[in-house]
């Protein structure tokens, strides 16, 4: 508690002793985590260990039963929601909107008029490898492209904290690894504070500065592993293998 005054300056995001229960199930218990500015933290854990709950707590979509969640110094849900850009596992693009309008949706939700929102989204399509696809409906896009549109929608409002819930979980493994490389490159260019939830250990090592390992339900942080590898990271290198071994060990595998 005595660290609270200095916390906002150094830690854009922190969870302190967070517990979340649903009826008879305890999803998370006594979780402590904190992220530095522009740090990428990956949370890995077995299915059902409360990873998604963790993200929704941070995103201000749920409240903890005990403990506190602080985002940019704010603990109330509305302020947390305003500080975080949340990207769910599935792209959830609206089938009746073209790619450009889908990307613009996040801005529209903040009250930006539709045409202005489209105008702001347009220049980013080139950078996201989506040039010429502005007018395409989601059904006409490949899985990887749809995910990139979803990313664009997430990044566009410029919120300081990114919350990614298995962002590539629905993609085939080739598309997934190319999207991971693409995201690593994008974050290198334009760093953000990222909380990434995944059950893919390699994905966590490719992208994260630090990895927190959760136990099976109820989720607790059982290990935090610093990833000191140079970027771009080579999944075939011996050092990568070492980190992977340590993470798998912490997972009990």
């Amino acid at each position: 508690m005595q660290t609270k005054a200095e916390a906002p300056a150094t830690e854009p995001l922190s969870l302190s002793d967070v517990t979340r229960r649903y009826r008879r199930v305890t999803a998370l218990e006594g979780v402590d985590l904190s992220l530095r500015l522009d740090e990428v933290l990956a949370v890995v854990g077995p299915s059902g260990c409360g990873k998604s709950t963790l993200l929704e707590l941070v995103a201000g979509l749920q409240e903890p039963d005990a403990g506190s969640v602080t985002v940019l110094g704010a603990t109330d849900a509305v302020a947390r929601r305003a500080a975080c850009a949340f990207m769910p596992q599935r792209d959830l693009l609206l089938p009746w909107r073209d790619a450009l309008a889908n990307a613009a949706l996040a801005l529209e939700c903040q009250g930006v008029p539709r045409s202005e929102a489209r105008r702001q989204a347009e220049p980013l399509f080139e950078r996201f490898g989506l040039a010429e696809f502005e007018r395409a409906r989601p059904a006409e896009l490949s899985g990887g492209m749809r995910q990139r549109v979803a990313f664009l929608r997430t990044l566009l409002p410029g919120r300081p904290v990114l919350l990614l819930d298995e962002p590539f979980g629905g993609l085939d493994s080739l598309t997934r690894s190319s999207m991971q490389r693409w995201l690593a490159g994008a974050l290198a260019q334009e760093p953000r504070t990222v909380l990434l939830v995944t059950h893919d250990v390699e994905e966590a090592i490719v992208l994260a500065d630090r990895i927190a390992v959760l136990s099976p339900r109820p989720g607790r942080v059982v290990a935090e592993i610093q990833v000191e590898l140079a970027r771009p990271r080579d999944v075939t290198s011996a050092e990568f293998g070492d980190v992977k071994r340590r993470v798998l060990e912490a997972l009990g595998l």
Partner: protein, 249 residues
């Protein structure tokens, strides 16, 4: 191919109809043959057409009232849970009322004019429109609603950008049902008391033993309902182009 098969079945049906009507044991007063019906359509065309227009106006206005009221009521019920809980049983009950019995009372209340017909058409069309719209508004995935909330969307923004577009195909399903039953509603309305309209013409024809004219009226009423259905399907294609795969007709 689809259309060819449908046309073939229709042709077979007309042939069978002609065959049964030509049997000696079948009374001409009970069943007019397709040929007799066609003759009646030709000979009484202006009479039939004038009355068909009257019925068409009743149907279209009644449908319009039901659509406006159904959408307004459906959205209101969706936005206000207490209203939904309170009004849903009434909504179901409104559909369970035997309209045939209600029609004469409407005529008593509204006189012989267009009023009772509109009331009956609107009453039976309101239900499929409202219920389908409500289902559509609730069909949005919880994940998507969560995403909208995380992006800071207001209730109205979510309604406008997500729930209403999601509900549009459902609304059109309701309209398809409404379009086909609307004509039946207009006929009941006219039977309870009217000075003109196809329903009244069919009833009169029945009393006066003009069987071919009755059949001609029935054919026109059926065509009207089918045409309305097709119009709704076409409107749906224009309004929901992303939903193409599930189209029929």
């Amino acid at each position: 191919m689809r259309y060819a098969l449908a046309a073939l079945l229709l042709a077979l049906f007309v042939l069978a109809w002609q065959g049964v009507a030509s049997l000696h044991s079948v009374d001409d007063l009970t069943l007019a043959s397709p040929v007799e019906t066609f003759d009646a359509l030709r000979d009484d065309w202006s009479l039939l057409w004038d009355n068909a227009l009257v019925t068409l106006v009743e149907v279209l206005l009644g449908l319009a009232i039901a659509t406006v009221a159904g959408v307004a009521f459906g959205v209101a019920m969706h936005l206000f849970r207490p209203l939904r809980n309170a009004a849903y049983p009434l909504l179901v009950a409104s559909q369970a009322i035997p309209v045939v019995v209600l029609a004469p009372l409407f005529v008593l209340a509204f006189d012989y004019g267009i009023g009772p017909k509109l009331a009956i058409v609107a009453l039976i069309c309101f239900f499929p429109i409202t219920v389908n719209l409500l289902d559509g508004l609730r069909s949005v995935e919880p994940e998507l609603l969560k995403l909208m909330r995380s992006m800071g969307a207001s209730r109205l923004r979510t309604l406008r950008s997500v729930e209403l577009p999601s509900a549009l195909p459902f609304l059109f399903s309701g309209l398809k049902v409404a379009a086909t039953v609307s004509v039946i509603g207009a006929v009941f309305g006219e039977w309870a008391g009217a000075e003109e309209g196809l329903g009244r013409l069919v009833l009169l024809g029945n009393n006066q033993l003009q069987t071919p004219r009755v059949y001609a009226g029935i054919v026109l009423l059926t065509l009207m309902a089918v045409a309305l259905f097709v119009l709704v399907v076409l409107a749906e294609r224009v309004a929901c182009p992303w939903n193409r795969k599930e189209q029929s007709v």
